[in-house]
């Protein structure tokens, strides 16, 4: 009993301590709300006006889609220090952009940075890296695991206006791009001096993903990532009687035909697809409206329910192998030991992941075709941080790496990135042959597929909602819940992630 008293006393103590510090608490919170109000209050300042000027909004105009107002940029209270002006500070989560910049940005001072490419293909650089004008490049790398990258970036961007150590650039991915694009921390690309002519050769969908609600472009990418359907030639020959990409495509050109082939595959002892999520992007990229409508309600698109029904069918009929994306088995299914007909893969996936998994045994044994619907998968975008004290350098990097045809052609040749430059890629497509794909010219297919991609329905909630949707419906595929329960489970998860979203009645 004495212990009971002790614990009660402890609880009391904590409450008292709580009361003591409560006086600190509200102070902090007030500040928070103040900055929140500032955002709303300065709605009509410079940033807001600028926003409306540029046109070119191709965004989804389907009735009811959420078009979140672009938040006006926050006035910079503090200027960058002299030291900050001499430093180009770039936020990223991996080394991909680093190696592109080092290898292909002409103003990168390879000598002073001690840059070379090591025997294993990895970058070798000295302690400090510089541009030719003496600006030092500082990379702030935070892993994406546990959302750490976005947490870090959000914290630091929030402090940008009052900091004299300015962030100059940061990188983002498609699935959460709009969160930043419509937020107050990005400097529009046109403000940096990039013109429509500069950007003319970029694929439209790569611009749509980073266009804010006012139609202003807020970022650029050096890659385009159109997706195709990669299939095993040996299995195609055996089951479909041909491995010719055109003829195979004719049998896969819409979902009904695709499903028919799936049945044939099953009858012949193969799987059509490896896992539950394989086809997801082809459906989610072709929705008729965005995830969230203008009332902040989650609306599940019919096309996504089509994916659910199809995948349920595939699972029940044994058309897939029950894997999940990136599982060991999913990777193994792509090797010679696999019994899976094909995989939905985009540019990088074919050149690196699939080729790697296929190994020597399946060299030349894969081919690609467009598949039933156009889609994209992946990509990294470059944004200029509002308040950057090196806007000219940032603009020059963007121009060089995402608008310069020669440089981009060079990137494609040296790294196999499919670059975001129509004329360069079309030029390349005239005469190309991939050894891995048995001599097929898949670049030509990419150039044909890329213009068909529709990214206008992208939204800031995509990453979280897509993940939860797939997770919730896996239970349905496995048969442990019915469709309605799975849907309810999804809504629940969605609202935990995004408390401002409601469920459409």
């Amino acid at each position: 009993m004495a212990n009971l008293k002790k614990l009660l006393a402890g609880a009391m103590a904590l409450c008292m301590a709580g009361a003591m510090f409560a006086s600190c608490g509200p102070e902090e919170s007030k500040n928070d709300s103040k900055s929140g109000n500032t955002n709303a209050g300065t709605n009509d300042n410079k940033g807001g006006e600028e926003g409306g000027n540029e046109g070119g909004n191709e965004g989804g105009d389907a009735a009811g889609d959420l078009k979140e107002e672009k938040l006006p940029n926050i006035p910079q209270n503090v200027e960058g220090s002299d030291a900050s002006k001499k430093v180009l500070k770039i936020y990223t989560w991996n080394d991909e952009f680093k190696s592109r910049l080092r290898a292909f940005y002409p103003e990168y001072d390879a000598e002073k940075s001690g840059y070379s490419i090591g025997a294993d293909g990895a970058d070798v650089v000295g302690e400090h890296e510089y541009l030719k004008d003496g600006t030092e490049i500082v990379w702030v790398t935070t892993p994406s695991a546990d959302n750490a990258y976005q947490n870090k970036l959000d914290e630091d961007l929030a402090k940008q206006a009052d900091s004299d150590d300015k962030i100059d650039m940061f990188l983002i991915e498609a699935d959460y791009a709009l969160k930043y694009v419509n937020g107050p921390y990005v400097k529009p690309v046109t403000d940096l001096g990039l013109t429509d002519a500069d950007l003319a050769d970029q694929y439209q969908y790569t611009k749509d993903i980073v266009t804010d609600s006012n139609g202003v472009l807020e970022g650029v990418s050096w890659q385009a990532t159109p997706g195709l359907f990669a299939y095993r030639r040996d299995i195609a020959k055996e089951v479909l009687g041909t491995d010719d990409p055109t003829e195979v495509q004719a049998q896969l050109s819409d979902w009904d035909k695709f499903n028919e082939v799936a049945k044939k595959m099953k009858d012949a002892g193969y799987f059509m697809l490896s896992g539950y999520d394989d086809a997801y992007r082809t459906f989610s990229n072709n929705v008729s409206h965005a995830w969230v409508n203008s009332n902040y309600e989650i609306v599940v698109d019919d096309n996504l329910m089509k994916w659910v029904d199809q995948t349920k069918d595939y699972t029940d009929n044994g058309y897939n192998n029950g894997t999940s994306l990136w599982d060991d088995q999913w990777n193994a299914d792509q090797s010679s030991a696999g019994k899976v007909f094909g995989f939905f893969y985009s540019t990088w996936g074919i050149n690196f992941t699939l080729a790697g998994n296929a190994g020597d045994e399946l060299q030349g044994q894969y081919a690609v075709c467009e598949g039933p619907q156009a889609y994209y998968w992946g990509g990294t975008w470059i944004c200029a941080a509002d308040g950057t004290d090196n806007p000219d350098t940032v603009a020059d990097i963007m121009k060089a790496l995402t608008c310069n045809k020669d440089i981009m052609l060079d990137i494609t040749k040296k790294t196999q990135d499919y670059t975001n430059n129509k004329s360069a890629m079309e030029e390349l497509a005239k005469d190309f042959s991939s050894e891995f794909l048995g001599g097929q010219n898949h670049i030509a297919l990419f150039t044909a597929a890329a213009p068909n991609i529709d990214a206008s329905k992208a939204g800031p909630y995509d990453q979280g909602l897509n993940e939860s949707f797939q997770a919730a419906f896996k239970d349905y595929f496995l048969g442990s819940v019915d469709k309605e329960t799975a849907l309810q489970n999804f809504y629940k998860a969605a609202q935990e992630k995004y408390p401002d979203l409601k469920v459409a009645k």
């Binding site: 002790k6 614990l7 006393a9 402890g10 609880a11 103590a13 904590l14 989560w93 991996n94 080394d95 991909e96 680093k98 190696s99 090591g118 294993d120 990895a122 970058d123 070798v124 650089v125 990379w139 702030v140 790398t141 935070t142 892993p143 994406s144 695991a145 546990d146 750490a148 990258y149 947490n151 870090k152 914290e155 402090k159 060991d328 088995q329 990777n331 193994a332 090797s335 030991a337 990088w348 996936g349 690196f352 992941t353 790697g356 998994n357 190994g359 992946g378 990294t380 790294t415 196999q416």
Partner: protein, 291 residues
């Protein structure tokens, strides 16, 4: 089961003892194998490349050991060696501060009588219950408000207040530190602080060794907070670097390197553990102190 056996029946007793020893060794060996199995997988995968790792497990090592090793240590952007050093500094100091000050605090509660004692003791116990994740983001924001981004201070100094370590020390003192020893030291004219440092800490050695390992390991493996506090590439800790290797882009994604990095991160901990485990055993000889 434990300790000495009755003296009745010498003959059957020694036979019984033999059987017990055989059983013990068998069970212990099975568990040893179980415990080593994850390491076995780790070691095997350290010698393989991404594609073969993903094709499934194999008992036969691959031929990528040296390449993986070179990749992990050599890749400039990862700074593996400096992160090893940082992790050593942070975890070492954390273990040191945490055990010393927790012992000091426990000593205060154990030996002295003062008004707030019971209250403070209970208070610390309550605190122990709070999951660390609860206030993590608040903590990070506060540290950055104090300008402690990229400083090791937020990763080391808070360990001075380690309720769980404190609680262990307190429990250990209850069973191994009689107040008579302190009284005797006072009679000999030893100052309170000196008594603690020179007389009490040696008695606490086993407890200190045990807690030093625990603290070291948990600090060594901590990812969440350091990832949000440290962004300078020269200040990163090992788990951050492993995180970076894991979130590599498609072209340089390297499972072999991930396993290698995990392997490298385990070696120093194992060494620290080996050193301290001797300490424990020697320290335990001091168990003569009455419980």
């Amino acid at each position: 089961m434990a300790a000495p056996v009755d003296a009745v029946g010498e003959m059957s007793n020694s036979k019984q003892l033999l059987i017990r020893r055989v059983i013990s060794y068998t069970v212990l060996t099975i568990f040893a194998i179980l415990s080593l199995f994850p390491f076995f997988i780790l070691l095997i995968n350290m010698t393989r490349d991404t594609n073969s790792i993903q094709k499934g497990f194999s008992l036969v090592p691959g031929s990528y050991l040296i390449k993986n090793f070179k990749t992990v240590l050599g890749k400039h952007d990862w700074k593996m060696l400096s992160s090893l050093k940082n992790s050593l500094i942070i975890s070492g100091l954390t273990a040191l501060l945490s055990t010393y000050f927790s012992a000091l605090t426990a000593y205060s509660i154990h030996v002295y009588d003062y008004k707030l004692k019971k209250f403070l003791f209970t208070f610390i116990l309550m605190i122990m219950m709070v999951p660390t994740q609860v206030s993590a983001l608040g903590f990070v924001r506060q540290m950055s408000d104090w300008g402690l981004t990229n400083s090791f201070i937020p990763l080391i100094i808070p360990s001075i207040a380690a309720p769980a370590t404190f609680f262990f020390m307190k429990q250990y003192m209850d069973s191994a530190l009689p107040l008579e020893i302190v009284e005797a030291a006072r009679i000999d004219g030893s100052g309170e602080f000196r008594t603690f440092n020179e007389l009490v800490t040696p008695i606490l050695k086993p407890a200190i060794a045990v807690q030093a390992i625990f603290t070291f390991v948990s600090s060594w493996n901590n990812f969440f907070i350091p990832a949000l506090i440290l962004d300078d590439k020269n200040k990163r800790t090992l788990p951050i670097v492993i995180g970076i290797i894991r979130s590599a882009d498609y072209a340089s994604f390297d499972m072999g390197a991930v396993y290698m990095a995990i392997g490298i991160s385990i070696i120093p901990v194992a060494i620290v553990y080996l050193i301290l485990s001797k300490f424990i055993i020697r320290g335990i000889a001091l168990g003569a102190v009455k419980g």
